[in-house]
């Protein structure tokens, strides 16, 4: 296997690494690997998939579909397969992944490593709850894990620390086709926004929030509800790219305010229903490749927390801080989560989750620190897929099953060969 000295980064491009990377494509390549942490498409914003100075295994080309049982809907895939490709291939034939994150570029291995959630978390739970089996390579030795075992729970959301995930069997969900019927409603303020999310009975529900709106408008946004459907629609293949790093005024305050105002008002006051291709509903940003370059060279951070249902007021207070700071970007999402989670380190808890991007600037980092403290006070949790700034002790305290995870990880990787920058930064395995 060829190891290439490579400079690489998390999706936010604020945290970077340099080290040797191998990219297996075949079983023979896998057999020739040394023990090193895996990465998927590095859609995690921070350092979950980085290993500075050490080696890393890029699994994104180990991506074949291996087998499908049309009776049971069980799909066996290699870990580098992208969730969006799976959806595109299967939806026309009546099946789709039960849970999909907001980017179709995420690999199956990455979806497991973070136990990701989708717009249907309130009724479908997390990704790992639909995994029937995973195959791991633990220091060259193959192991399988199935639901109910400690190894399985340590692997779902386990940040790749229990071994290299080579293959997984996913329980797919029946669907009608590759279209989505999407209803968009305006929420004029925070209370209306929460009420729409609480009252939604749709299969897929998510709120876009205008994090620049203040005063009486604070919390306003668009609540999107989606149902799957079948039909015919012209689709375009191909994508746009951002050819270079944008100058840092590209997302300056007036630009964002204007954008958000227009984005809000594009939906008529009485709402509307439209038909969209499946990919456009689930992966709205994927049409613009490398959109992370819009934040310029310095990159950006995403803050995502979840707080218990009873702590909605705390979340509102966070939004007030954000709106007051003038630092928010247009990408801000509010969602009601259900209790579903599959692993010891899974992010979800029943409550409300807020995700929002900030440019990587001193004021933004200070604000994020403040939001993190507010999350802790509210009994909430931060997401390893997004984090790049948290304090180890604070974030570890948000994961009550951390010790169970540590015990399994110690067995699976006694040498600590799979530790990543995130694991070291937050002392996840050692504290």
């Amino acid at each position: 296997m060829i190891w290439t000295q490579t400079d690489y980064a998390g999706w936010g491009r604020a945290l970077r690494a340099s080290g040797e990377v191998a990219r297996p494509e075949s079983r023979a390549d896998l057999a020739a690997l040394s023990n090193a942490p895996a990465m998927g498409m590095r859609r995690s914003y921070g350092d979950a998939a980085l290993n500075s100075g050490g080696r890393a295994v890029d699994m994104s080309r180990f991506d074949r579909l291996l087998g499908f049982d049309a009776e049971t809907g069980l799909l066996e895939v290699e870990a580098g397969a992208r969730i969006g490709d799976i959806a595109t291939a299967f939806a026309p034939r009546g099946w789709m992944p039960a849970v999909m994150p907001g980017t179709g570029f995420a690999t199956v291995g990455g979806c497991i490593g973070q136990d990701v959630h989708g717009k249907n978390h309130h009724n479908a739970g997390s990704f790992g709850q639909h995994v029937a089996e995973v195959t791991l390579l633990q220091n060259g030795v193959e192991a399988t894990a199935t639901p109910g075992s400690a190894l399985f729970e340590a692997t779902m959301g386990g940040l790749g620390q229990t071994g290299l995930i080579t293959c997984a069997t996913l329980q797919m969900k029946r669907c009608k086709g590759d279209l989505m019927l999407v209803t968009e409603r305006r929420a004029n303020d925070w209370d209306e926004h929460l009420a729409l999310l609480d009252g939604s009975t749709a299969s897929y529900t998510v709120g876009w929030i205008d994090a620049t709106a203040r005063g009486a408008d604070m919390g306003r946004g668009i609540v999107e509800e989606g149902e799957n459907g079948a039909g015919l629609m012209k689709r375009r293949r191909g994508a746009h790219r951002v050819p270079m790093d944008a100058p840092h005024f590209a997302l300056a305050k007036p630009v964002v305010r204007a954008f958000n105002w227009a984005y809000f008002h594009r939906v008529p006051a009485h709402g509307r229903t439209l038909v969209r291709p499946l990919e456009a509903f689930f992966f709205p940003l994927d049409k613009i490749h490398d959109w992370n370059r819009l934040y310029g060279q310095r990159g950006f951070h995403q803050f995502q927390c979840v707080v218990p249902l009873g702590a909605a007021a705390a979340l509102k207070a966070m939004l007030a801080e954000i709106a007051g700071s003038g630092l928010a970007s247009p990408l801000a999402v509010l969602k009601r989560m259900g209790p579903g989670r599959a692993g010891y380190l899974s992010f979800p808890m029943e409550g409300y989750t807020l995700a929002i991007d900030f440019p990587n600037r001193t004021e933004a980092r200070v604000l994020i620190k403040r939001l993190e403290a507010m999350t802790a006070e509210a009994g909430g949790r931060l997401y390893f897929a997004k984090d790049s700034l948290a304090e180890g002790a604070a974030i570890r305290a948000m994961y009550p099953d951390l010790e169970k995870w540590q015990a399994e990880v110690a067995k699976a990787d006694p040498q600590g060969a799979l530790a990543t920058d995130l694991v070291r930064r937050l002392h996840l395995r050692t504290a």
């Binding site: 990219r23 074949r64 291996l66 799909l75």
Partner: protein, 243 residues
């Protein structure tokens, strides 16, 4: 029904293209040397929508078995198409040390594929339809210090394709010459190269080339400009450059 035979189907550059064909509902005949890899790819293609995906043992250096593969392929009704990804690129230094390697490079990249196509194309002409897509290389546009044997083989293949286009086009068979610049595959891993593109982007270009019936396609497209410039450099100057 649309059927494609792919020579060198396990090549890193080919995988996303083959998947696009599978999604488009084409029948696939995947030919190459690594059978286990071919089987896995065929299963992948069936799951992505190919009504049929069969594997074939193909070694460019063993023309004796070409006829059997072609006999099997032409049993399919409808439009027949062929894509050639086969080829090999040992380091120039290796070739300098062992000049006999040249024969293999020429066989993998030129004489093998050309012989195969020469045997297949008459049947395509009889049916009056189909596409031949041959992967040549920007390396064939000018003999450069770093890989001139590989470049020579690809230049020969490109010239062959040009002639084949001229001939088969008269009978409804369209021939596309593809000249990729560096593509991020295992073949180029570890090399620092400018304007590197990805197999996914190449696949997009190839699908467009088939749809638009293009004759010669550079991918990434910038290489058309670069190679035009490089071809214009006068030989007395060029021979002193190490580009």
């Amino acid at each position: 029904m649309n059927s494609w035979i792919i020579l060198g189907a396990t090549s890193g550059m080919a995988r996303p293209f083959i998947r696009r064909l599978a999604e488009s509902g084409a029948q696939l005949f995947l030919a190459g040397r690594r059978m286990e890899e071919l089987e896995a790819l065929a299963a992948d293609c069936r799951l992505r929508g190919a009504p049929k995906a069969e594997v074939m043992a193909f070694d460019a250096r063993d023309p004796a078995n070409y006829a059997a593969l072609i006999d099997r392929f032409v049993q399919e009704e409808g439009t027949l198409n062929a894509a050639v990804f086969a080829g090999s690129m040992p380091e120039q230094a290796q070739i300098d040390a062992t000049p006999e390697l040249i024969e293999g490079v020429i066989a993998d990249s030129f004489t093998g594929p050309a012989t195969f196509l020469q045997m297949l194309v008459p049947e395509m002409e009889t049916r009056g339809a189909g596409t031949v897509m041959g992967i040549a290389s920007v390396a064939g546009d000018r003999g450069r210090l770093g890989n001139y044997v590989y470049g020579a083989a690809k230049a020969a293949f490109a010239t062959y394709l040009s002639g084949l286009r001229n001939r088969a086009g008269r009978k409804g068979v369209h021939v596309i010459t593809v000249k990729p610049g560096p593509v991020d595959t295992p073949m180029t891993q570890g090399m620092k190269m400018p304007f590197m593109t990805t197999p996914d982007a190449v696949a997009d270009d190839l699908m467009r080339a088939i749809e638009k019936k293009r004759n010669v396609v550079y991918t990434a497209r910038i290489w058309q400009v670069i190679m035009t410039v490089i071809r214009l450099i006068p030989e007395p100057v060029f021979k002193k450059l190490s580009i």
